[in-house]
Symmetry: C2
Subunit: 242 residues, 2 copies
DNA sequence: CGCCATCTTGACACGTATCAACAGGCGTGG
DNA sequence: CCACGCCTGTTGATACGTGTCAAGATGGCG
């Protein structure tokens, strides 16, 4: 019975879309099996807080978008990170995280209890190495965003964000052909205008205005406020990094 | 002769102020000895670029302050990180770094060749773990700064930066007594007004104005533009996080 | 159908940037 | 030794971008 149970779990993993993308890619079949004993799938609806500063949840993101937010005591809020599949969510090696994690859309997670997960890290150095590389990339992204927050104009900010979401959230028709060919993209925003503003250090009104301006100069087309078409990505890039 | 040489190197390390603070703290005496064979001390004068995006230098910071900068093509610049002793400098696991490292003051480094260092990481997992925790802390700081850049006013930004520098650069008379007692600080800024501005996403004029405003309301005293006294730290904290 | 959330648009205010002039400190060179 | 220029920082006048407040518009859903 028990053997059979583990077998089905292993099967579930091997069918997982993340098997060779998330941190799981650093694990062998045997290790993965071990890992599965502590994993648990979970669904979270949009708007719900996943963790606050009293606790941390560790998880692979299977589906959906998660925003990491920080808030000043008077309510001003800033999104300090945006996580897509197959990102790893959660602050390891501390009891609490210095930010909140909130579901921006409906989200599916593959969660791990903290103690068990950190024990795994000790057992499988390859896994910790993988997470370390993830973290280094996150740090690079955070610094890229600091440049945006500190030095870019509202229009550049919006353009940069659209590019970023296009490349990460995309079920895209983005062909990325070089030279004389034009590459385009189509995607749906996983965020409200208020979220966009919180990520860019702007107000939602300013974001809205910049979107209409980008539309009026033909750089983007709005299908329905969330669905966006970028006919020529290079135009957007030129605006994002003048 | 060779044995004698290693002996003197080990002695140099054991006398190092960083022995039990920098990443070296994760190493035993034997490991440290090993490490020493690839380490080399180096001095860099203020203003000099330590590495650009074509190369990375790995090093422990023994003395001085290093700024990590990013620049847009039209010259707008943002400092995306500030490093003090005993921080570790350099982006491992990539050939290039997405930012420049520049000496803000005269700097003393204990440098390592990249290949050799990464080999050490493979040999001593404890060292990699230590660097991982460093990186996680850096990521937390970067996100804290994103909140500052996106949502704080000029005055809050300056106040926050002064607190940060006071706590990190301090050869401080900061007594940190609680309750009714007042704790004060005195320190000298390792940065020019232009650097402060680049770190805060402001212009140097705005920084200057905010400094004089803080002085005029009695929150700070300026000894000589670089030397600063904070008579009551809690006042500064109240301004930094209203 | 009407409510509610989301988004857009407008008028105006305000904070910060920009441009410019000036002050002080410091090293260099006559 | 003083004069000069340069670098750093301060202060002022003004411009401009974004925030704020308010009114509508749109679309989904009970």
């Amino acid at each position: 019975m028990v053997a059979h149970l583990h077998n089905t779990i292993a099967t579930r993993c091997s069918r997982c879309v993340l098997r060779h993308k998330a941190i799981c890619a650093a694990l062998s079949e045997t290790e993965l099996n071990d890992f599965n004993k502590i994993a648990r799938q979970r669904t979270i609806t949009a708007g719900q807080v996943i963790y606050g500063d009293d606790d941390v949840m560790l998880a692979n993101i299977l589906m959906g978008v998660i925003k990491l937010t920080k808030t000043l005591s008077d309510g001003r809020q800033q999104i300090v990170g945006l996580q897509f599949p197959p990102d790893f969510l959660g602050r390891i090696y501390t009891k609490t995280a210095p930010y909140f994690a909130e579901a921006a859309t409906d989200v599916e997670l593959c969660t791990f209890p903290k103690a068990g997960f950190e024990a795994m890290l000790r057992r499988y150095p390859g896994l910790e190495h993988r997470l370390f590389e993830n973290t280094l990339d996150e740090l690079d992204s955070a610094r890229e965003w600091m440049l945006l927050l500190g030095r870019k104009t509202a229009q550049e900010k919006v353009a940069t964000l659209l590019l970023m979401i296009a490349s990460r959230a995309s079920n895209v028709g983005c062909s990325h052909i070089h030279s004389p060919e034009i590459s385009s993209a189509r995607f749906s925003l996983p965020l409200t205008r208020a979220d966009l503003a919180d990520y860019l250090g702007l107000t939602l009104e300013t974001v809205s205005r910049q979107m209409t301006k980008l539309k009026s100069i033909g750089v983007i087309e709005l299908v329905d406020n969330r669905e966006i078409i970028v006919p020529d990505i290079s135009m957007l890039e030129k605006i994002a990094d003048p």
